[in-house]
């Protein structure tokens, strides 16, 4: 029973971190109509940034979080318009071309990181690394608690931004109907750049946290892309609220499979679930996809 509770808690905490970048991923799809294959690449790059902040400057891993947001936000702001142009270009199949572009970006990031840093795994050290908290019979690593709290803060901030500000309203309007939003005076092009920047920044922050909880290596990007897709498929592409539920579910499924079946089966379980959900209910279990 203790193990059962422990696994549940671990799964929920990780699910919280996964939720941060998958919510942003969904938002990007809603606005840009692009499935970003490169999402795992941004996560891993964020983790590496955290590692180098610790290794090169002797700073605490947590310092890397705001730095990651600013740095990758800027990178995303520059990439966003390119994606927008490809998605809205007059080539024969802009949807596939945009998909191919993010796929190429992902491959480029993965290859670049492998060339620069090799296959070694890196870990982000923080003040809380190695500490843990006893809650009754359950032991919780402090870093996971901190990461989950941080994730809640980011997700909460994002929801407030989306539902309580004028700019959030513009984003939601664009996601709902870009044509009408444009008629209401929303500059879709600039909004796309901002949203992609926001998404890249949040994803890189999640990467720092992932680097502190587990570790990162260039090949683990695929895993996070899979997470984002899993959440997107379960929640329905573009559904922001559903992403939160689906991410928590994903964290719990992964934790239980890893604990009770074996960690080598967890990817098999996730991929199989993803595949089956796609076949049974293509618009997501929650049926709120676009």
């Amino acid at each position: 029973m203790d193990l059962f509770l422990q696994t549940l808690l671990n799964g929920l905490l990780i699910g919280g971190v996964i939720a941060t970048f998958t919510i942003a991923f969904q938002l990007t799809f809603g606005v840009l109509h692009v499935i970003d294959f490169a999402v795992g690449g941004w996560v891993v790059l964020g983790g590496y940034l955290g590692y180098y902040m610790v290794a090169a400057f002797g700073l605490d891993g947590f310092v890397a979080i705001p730095v990651a947001f600013v740095l990758f936000g800027a990178v995303g702001y520059l990439i966003g318009p390119i994606l927008y142009n490809v998605r809205n270009s007059r080539t024969a199949r802009p949807e596939l071309m945009a998909l191919a572009l993010t796929f190429g970006l992902f491959t480029l990031l993965r290859g670049g990181m492998l060339t620069a840093w090799g296959f070694n795994t890196r870990n982000v050290t923080t003040a809380l690394s190695g500490e843990s908290l006893m809650v009754g019979p359950v032991t919780v690593p402090l870093i996971r608690v901190a990461a989950a709290l941080f994730a809640v803060a980011i997700a909460g901030g994002l929801f407030i931004f989306l539902y309580r500000t004028r700019y959030g309203l513009a984003i939601r309007a664009t996601a709902e109907n870009r044509h009408n939003a444009a008629l209401m005076g929303v500059n879709i092009r600039r909004l796309s750049a901002n949203v992609y920047g926001l998404y890249a920044g949040i994803t890189a922050m999640a990467g720092v946290l992932m680097g502190a909880i587990y570790s990162v290596n260039p090949e683990s990007g695929l895993r996070y892309t899979l997470f984002a897709f899993f959440v997107a498929v379960l929640a329905g592409l573009g559904s922001v609220g559903g992403a939160l539920v689906a991410a928590l579910l994903l964290g719990v499924i992964e934790a239980y499979v890893a604990t009770y079946v074996g960690s080598s089966y967890s990817l098999l379980a996730i991929f199989s679930t993803l595949f089956l959900v796609l076949l049974v209910s293509p618009r997501g279990i929650l049926r709120r996809g676009l």
Partner: protein, 327 residues
Amino acid sequence: MKSRWLGLLLLGALLVVLVLLPLLVNNYWLRIATGALMWAGLACSWNMLGGYAGYINFGHSAFFGLGAYATALLMADPLGLPFTVTVLAGIAVTAACAVVIGAPTLRLRGAYFAIATWAFAEVLIQFATVMDFTGGIGGLSLPPFLNERFFYFAMLAAAVLTYLATWALFERSRFGLKVKALRDHEPAAEAMGINTALVKLQTFVLSAITASVFGAIFAYWVTFINPRSVFGGDITDQMVVMVLLGGLGTLWGPAIGGVALFVVNRLIWMYWGDTAFYIAILGAAIVLVVLFLPNGIAGLFARRRGGATVLDKTVEKLARAGGGDRN
């Protein structure tokens, strides 16, 4: 008419050179030529679905791997079947698998289809890694057969057959028109009476079994396979880049892209011996092609079609050929 004869002449000359190649070069270059033929063929097989039907398959390595594993398992000790039998067995297994997987996934559009196929290939990797009969992560060994010429001619035959089939089916038949029509506008194609579900499934199966044949020859050729080496995402990545680079939905694009990229791969391998750098180049190539050369290399040579889109032409041709589908 003149350019047609010139093209045929060039094609004939190319075939003669390819057949005589084993006499002209040493084993090292023959191996490279064998690899180039394999990739040209694989790119063509991806292009059948991706280029002609417009369905992006991010898990095509699944079928390459199925062919490879079928051959490896059946040629190994307890059974020890001959190679020709295992290739056919691989085709049968892959075709069955493609029907089972394709029928539900081909209902999905665009990105969902890409995700589903990608998930399917990853399921197979994970499956082959955790199972015992596939040798787990260590993989399988095949009885060594060290005859470079045999493998060269096997790949050559497979590649020539692939391109002939593509030409006959997608460029010169009503089937090809149906496929292109559904790519350009699926509801319109359906409204014209084309059984799109069936046509998509046929294309999917054809593309899958082609990949499986190359997988079978590859496994026998390298005599050792593991889950990453035959199911790995890198294999699909390369096919996608080759087709994009050469030109989506063209007959010769995949051949140009496949050979060009494979040669780059070997050059990098020769000078740096490091394949991680090649992955970065693949990625950069995709990005650059999407941004600056969306029609690929073949698109540079394509004749300008005055005004009419492919859809218009397809519809017109179908109408001339006697209306919709009577199947």
